[in-house]
Symmetry: C2
Subunit: 339 residues, 2 copies
DNA sequence: GAGAGGTATCGAAGCGCTTCGAGTGCAAGG
DNA sequence: CCTTGCACTCGAAGCGCTTCGATACCTCTC
């Protein structure tokens, strides 16, 4: 193992000089810098991670807490995680992966063990039990997802309320008056996940404003889509449009509608709030509002980087992405035949 | 921050005694141990991660290198990753997440920086460029996936060759004589991913033995399934069974067959080598061989743990899981009508 | 041309932890 | 009773790195 002392010896300077070349915290003459840098190259020196973390030093690691749940759509989580990893890596940081299972005790472990310089939490609930710890801590942090109280926190999310509103506007603009919402599994609402609840708020508020009748039903998974659809058509036979926020339900829904001879978008319109990929690859390409997973991951990473760079903003910052609606083949004007 | 010295002071012993209580490397009297342990509890002591990593010490971190690719099925990767994370966490280790993008230089970084005690690599290619580094290194390692040369390596994988063979056996047993294989994207074969190639070997060998005619076509994604199916039916109109090893293609294939009035399993049989979830939730529940993602992750984690515990096996160990075929609703006896 | 101020470098201390060698006290053995 | 060996504990050294003075030299300025 090559140490800093080896580099110093090779370059004919003291260890501290090498350290300052590396950190840039004191001025170094150009000639010395070059000599040291070439020694580093030549010996293939890499700082020892543990030693770097020692005094008040930064381990150059970001902790990322990822959910273990199976009721969230995994590819989106993954895309976020990889965007975070790529972004921080570009700045010389590594990612420590924690599972959501660990909850507050995971945050405490990071804190106590000085394992990481900053924390990024995914799958944040409206009233998340990890937040008090985060607020009490001096450690930079960012949330992906928005809790109810965002004071003194840094958050990144899609503006799901606006997304909900945008769905209603689009459908109302096409003449639809009866819209059904096929939502996430009831467990997702039960544990008060922000995005699901906010989307619903947006849908409801705008529906009321535009005089659209809205029926919302949670949907447990792909197997229960049929039952959900049946209930919708019984309770609201006049339904001509569906908003789906449940990755597992989109394709089964399209299949069922096809089987029932409800042409999309001829007879009924379908739109989704989902991953771009899901919408594009559906058997009927779906008009959708995409969850900007990659952007969110990158932005959260940048938030903690900025905090680490000393641009501490004690007030926090909420970065909400504007929803963008992409019209594809699954929505059209309301059909006036009775279904 | 509570340090080991604080604990020592509180317990009225020396720092080294506390250290020995923690590591168990020397005998400690019961009374002292109790006193120290209660001080640890009382003060909420957590060892400082950096300091622990210092001398020859173990940082208690496992590096996990995960692919960034989009042509692998993400949920399986995720399941493996989370199984690894959960398993090592139970033993007090943390996970450092690297992206596959980093390639060999990522491995080198771990090595040089002493960032992790061991490495687990996912998405291993037959002739992976990270392997020479691993072999040269003293650091414990495990691969998820099997390279061509496994000497001195620890690997975990499903026995994909056996899986391929098992598929053919099952279909031949039902009387099928013309089988089409819808495979992964051609890029997957091009970069010589072990699992795809081995499955194909198994399929081909057993087909030859059992007198089954086999046609293999790669499939780029869900959009190209139709073209692939057309080519199959043109080249081998007698085809009565399909083996799918491509998560994105399964559902579109079922939809297409339905549209062409090829009842499953009445007219044609379909089976898959895929995630359990995909098979169960398909519109026709699929006879399948599941990829035991969770088991693989856990086993790889256990392999490195064993190596860390000193059970170093310089010869390596290849843990191949026996494929298990679950019969569902998608395979049946060959129909003797002409399709 | 002496002090002020700046730049470039060094030595030493110390971060929290592990580990080695040494030391204490005690029981058993000669 | 003295040695031997064992069980237990301590002090000190040192891991690789950062950082804080201190030092040496150089360039201005009055």
């Amino acid at each position: 193992m090559v140490t800093l002392a080896d580099v110093a010896r090779h370059a004919g300077v003291s260890a501290s000089t090498v350290s300052y070349v590396l950190s840039g915290k004191r001025s170094i003459s150009a000639s010395t810098r070059e000599r040291v840098e070439s020694s580093i190259q030549h010996l293939g020196y890499h700082p020892h991670a543990g030693a770097r973390a020692l005094p008040g030093g930064r381990p150059r690691v970001i902790a990322l807490m990822m959910p273990l749940r199976t009721d969230v759509y995994v590819p989106v989580m993954m895309e976020i995680a990889l965007a975070v990893a790529t972004t921080v890596r570009a700045r010389g940081y590594d990612i420590l992966l924690l599972t959501g299972e660990e909850g507050p005790s995971g945050v405490r472990r990071i804190e106590r063990g000085a394992l990481a310089d900053a924390v990024i939490l995914m799958d944040v609930e409206l009233d998340d039990d990890r937040l008090p710890l985060l607020r009490a801590s001096a450690r930079p942090a960012a949330l992906i997802g928005m809790p109810a109280d965002t004071s003194r926190l840094h958050c990144v999310d899609l503006d799901f309320a606006a997304a909900g509103a945008l769905c209603v506007e689009h459908l109302a603009g096409l003449g639809h008056r009866d819209v059904a919402v096929i939502g996430e599994a009831s467990a997702v609402y039960a544990r008060r996940t922000g995005f699901a609840e906010r989307t619903l708020d947006g849908l409801r508020t705008r529906s009321r404003e535009l005089g659209v009748r809205l029926l919302h039903l949670p949907c447990e998974g792909s197997r229960t889509v049929a039952a959900t659809l049946t209930r919708i058509l019984e309770q609201r036979p006049a339904t001509t449009a569906f908003v789906v926020q449940n990755e597992a339900a989109t394709e089964p829904l399209l299949t069922l509608l096809r089987r029932q001879r409800l042409a999309v978008p001829g007879k009924v319109s379908v739109m989704a709030v989902c991953a771009e990929q899901t919408a594009v690859h559906a058997s009927v390409p779906l008009t959708s509002i995409a969850v900007p997973a990659q952007k969110m991951g990158r932005r959260a990473a940048e938030q903690v980087m900025a905090q680490l760079a000393g641009e501490r903003n004690a007030e926090g910052e909420v970065a909400l992405f504007e929803p963008e609606l992409t019209v594809r083949n699954s929505t059209g004007p309301r059909s006036h035949e009775t279904s």
